[in-house]
Symmetry: D2
Subunit: 347 residues, 4 copies
Amino acid sequence: MINVGIIGGSGYTGVELLRLLLPRTDVSIRFVSSRAHAGTRVDEQFTSLRGHCDLEFSDPATINQAECDLVFFATPNGTAMHQAPALLEAGVKVVDLSADYRIKDIGTWERWYGLTHTSPAWVERAVYGLPEINREAIRSADLVANPGCYPTTVQLGFLPLLEAGLVDTKSLIADAKSGVSGAGRAASVPTLLAEASDNFKAYGVSGHRHLPEIEQGLTFMSDSPIDLTFTPHLLPIIRGIHATLYAPLKSGVSASEEELQALFESRFKSEPFVDVLPSGVYPETRSVKGSNTVRLSVLKPQGRNTVVVLAVEDNLVKGAAGQAVQNMNLMMGMEETEGLQGLPLLP
Amino acid sequence: MINVGIIGGSGYTGVELLRLLLPRTDVSIRFVSSRAHAGTRVDEQFTSLRGHCDLEFSDPATINQAECDLVFFATPNGTAMHQAPALLEAGVKVVDLSADYRIKDIGTWERWYGLTHTSPAWVERAVYGLPEINREAIRSADLVANPGCYPTTVQLGFLPLLEAGLVDTKSLIADAKSGVSGAGRAASVPTLLAEASDNFKAYGVSGHRHLPEIEQGLTFMSDSPIDLTFTPHLLPIIRGIHATLYAPLKSGVSASEEELQALFESRFKSEPFVDVLPSGVYPETRSVKGSNTVRLSVLKPQGRNTVVVLAVEDNLVKGAAGQAVQNMNLMMGMEETEGLQGLPLLP
Amino acid sequence: MINVGIIGGSGYTGVELLRLLLPRTDVSIRFVSSRAHAGTRVDEQFTSLRGHCDLEFSDPATINQAECDLVFFATPNGTAMHQAPALLEAGVKVVDLSADYRIKDIGTWERWYGLTHTSPAWVERAVYGLPEINREAIRSADLVANPGCYPTTVQLGFLPLLEAGLVDTKSLIADAKSGVSGAGRAASVPTLLAEASDNFKAYGVSGHRHLPEIEQGLTFMSDSPIDLTFTPHLLPIIRGIHATLYAPLKSGVSASEEELQALFESRFKSEPFVDVLPSGVYPETRSVKGSNTVRLSVLKPQGRNTVVVLAVEDNLVKGAAGQAVQNMNLMMGMEETEGLQGLPLLP
Amino acid sequence: MINVGIIGGSGYTGVELLRLLLPRTDVSIRFVSSRAHAGTRVDEQFTSLRGHCDLEFSDPATINQAECDLVFFATPNGTAMHQAPALLEAGVKVVDLSADYRIKDIGTWERWYGLTHTSPAWVERAVYGLPEINREAIRSADLVANPGCYPTTVQLGFLPLLEAGLVDTKSLIADAKSGVSGAGRAASVPTLLAEASDNFKAYGVSGHRHLPEIEQGLTFMSDSPIDLTFTPHLLPIIRGIHATLYAPLKSGVSASEEELQALFESRFKSEPFVDVLPSGVYPETRSVKGSNTVRLSVLKPQGRNTVVVLAVEDNLVKGAAGQAVQNMNLMMGMEETEGLQGLPLLP
């Protein structure tokens, strides 16, 4: 039995952590904090938890975080960098679901997030929590920077191509589409149902904060300079990301669709949460709704030079809370898949 | 050519007034005011208007309302009661889309809206803008209180039954469902797509502000005391209200479904914006999307004692801006249907 | 470990049975039959099951049903009445999710379903599978008629009022709204996304097949003749039923909202799958998405004479497959809640 | 006043033609044919037309097409190639909304559509009905092949770049997303609300019939061989296409985002139905809902080498019926914009 805490538990990643952790008998949730809702029952905010959760939201000022083995930060960007170091120094492990520790180059981070980083030393020690790449490092990490939602699908989709050195890394394209839960639970006009439903649009095309995170990851995989064109779009659905990835084969490289299929199957055959679909089957976001699985297809349309990868995830699970639990499992020496085996909800 | 102005034009009823009025050659829009957006182009807020609208939002403080023949208030409750009287005294006609002048009993209004009314004398002079009941009074009105969205469907649905004295007015039920645009364009958590889509719930069951407005109208029709149970629900659609109305036949009254059908057809046969559907056809909200029409069905299921009326409208058109334009047409001596003949958008 | 089979497994109730049963270590699924898909892998139809299900759809003609302890019929109406008797006579227990055994009066059934019943003797022996009413009878039943989706919420919502004899049973109204998965997975124009989304309508108002089923149940509870006006509507959501129930207090009966709240809490306090919400909180369909729980509120608006009950369920879980599993648990001597403790998916 | 007929009027493009043509006083609709619905009123199928349409569906066998000046084919692929020639020879003009006359190379058409073409001579004489490219030819055409929905946005989006010779035509990518009305009004499982809502997926990635149509158009514009990777996706909305286009600048070509913006504005400044958005504003599908406008943005993210174009249309209007009416206007010597000036419906 381990003891965990959740800082910033009133958003969608907070309630999703609860959905995944409450049924577990090997994890005890010691606190869920929320400045705004301190003192009210968690199941008043989230009626879906009634009968499964007796917790109240705690005031962050009053909680004893040191009684935890591990603490999740489900806070807005800029909070964990202030609060995590004290915890880490007290021997508590941390999984940060925000962006504070994801980018190794402090200057890059500060430019994209518009803040001065207050704990750069911990950035260096943080492990980027994508188990499919960093599994062993995660096992021994004190601080895991949980990847962003878009970066998870985009990196996993490009991974086999980059590791194998098949594609031109200066001409990568990620056309990504996300459900609105990715924008969080804050009141805002653009994500109102009356604005976002029966509608579709791109946003952040000239520059989205997930771009440097993805490029850092792709550079690491390929050991080559990366130029990625990343176009996020807002989907009128609640959960789900679909990334459509395009990469031209390097000049002089030939690879058939069958060879690419075999490459993907081989790369991910031991991965519990990556499912390479059979040739001819394309992924759909609902096929992973509520689950920690990424499903992938790889194609080479019309036998031409451009490889197309289709990748889906549930942005709140593998793109956030599920991956955080997967990281917790690894960090605490538990079975990696524990508590993450629930089937997707379809239809 | 008449001159009109719109006060509070940055919400959904504001843009809908523009959609209906901009194509007209007999109406000139002199200003659209918005405190928040003063100085910016209207088509920046509403890209749909590009190419059809050169207006900027005006600061309410700087506009010359007196140059208008008629001014629409598309403001939150509590604004028109302050600003309309000066206009009216300057000879400008007013259509108020808010609730300020809808309820004749000042005490009732103040109790439900939590405000002290500042122009009770104009409440008395205001005409309730439901043309199917008050057409002649509207023609000569200076101030029209445009009905609420729910009250329009519910009153029109009950109208033939109450006028004919067929049903027990102490046991009326209106189970009403509205799209989220009825909640307006303000940022709020409950109307986020991630909260309201793939979801359905009732709200305001213990008491909704449209209850006294509806009961006042039904009392007027029937000349009897009314007890209405009114249950509003939030539909995961953008536009549309569906009211399902239940009324028991009075003891001693018998009326077949055919007789009820004939009663409804007869009552509304001259109404340009009320469509009684043939027997066996039920209305659906999309059949009036973007149009000023209310469609109605009347049934007596299983030959029992309870009459069921189904009524649909587009809450932004017949439930708000369209009815306001219909009232303007009447007040200005124009053809009642002018500018309101557009076909619904289906699918 | 028990052995079960599923006849007719390619629809929504079929895949939902699989979602609930596959993770269980105490249940072995011996076959899933489908005439249309025989010979293909189940996870080809339902990609969500990949990694959790190695079954192929069987041809109904070739399966050995007798190797099962219990067989689920997830077939269209009119199939189980032909096939269940042989199984039952071979000692296999049956849970029928179709309507074949729900209505005791054969004439009534034949009139509403337009078929001649071929096993009326088993109708008499069948137990209506609403555990909140029939728990003990279900434990010893060979054949359980699993209730319809609407009948489950409507009966549970009225139950405390009827048992306590508080309301006039000749004036009951159930205004019910269902997500489209209730219409099944057959290709049809009215449930296309382009027809049913951004839309809302009533259907079957003059007579829906669930009416006699509900009236039979309500009569049983109240021991009084019942007149129910039942109005189903189609919601543009996938899963979820919301029933808004209206009942006038009997002449001479007075009961405050607080007393009604206490009555409901008392009636359901031991029920694992019925959640009476605190006063002032209304249920929403998403609060039970993917779970076997019914949530209820009871109100008496404006202190008048009409009691309003709000009830939600997931039509594929408590309204179909979940209740079927609950019944299986009872019939097989397992813990009633086994495999049904998963948390709802929210958002 | 001109006389027109609609062959195949019971689908979404049929009802959309009616929505656009019924209000016109300069166009008389002589017949709307439908084999399946012959003899029933059109407004029984489409309640939205009640009060605006007294037509019945005609049996195709009984109509006198020769009384028309122009006939629209809103039929499945493979019908117009049989029926149009007789009409054309009788002097009736034809706008074919199907794909029969879109592709000049008969072999290519037959390979992609799996049919033998029965009127190849008319393929040669047909004019491809994209007014922004072929306006003058359309004015004098007898037979216009109305473009597909995807091809309209994709071609208009690439047009300025190809005409100016700025981009590498062997590395074009079109990542396109369409609402489900593009799949038509036929009953089918994949477009059921319960399958397609709250979901997103790609389809036809290995080869979609619009690929050769688009490549033919792009080749015509650029006079260069084209390699396009075209990835269509299904959006859970009713109307709307969003195409996200990617093209690398040719080696040696430099062009700033400002220069690209100026190029697009200049190319389309006289086009009544193409709206180039100001720099920094991105199009959204709802901004053109119900209207004949395409809105475009052009970007060069991060100052890199890849040009990104965002383009939206209403697939039933500019992508089908609206463009057909625009073509009719041109062919009949009417004002090009007549009947197409309605404002989009937002929200």
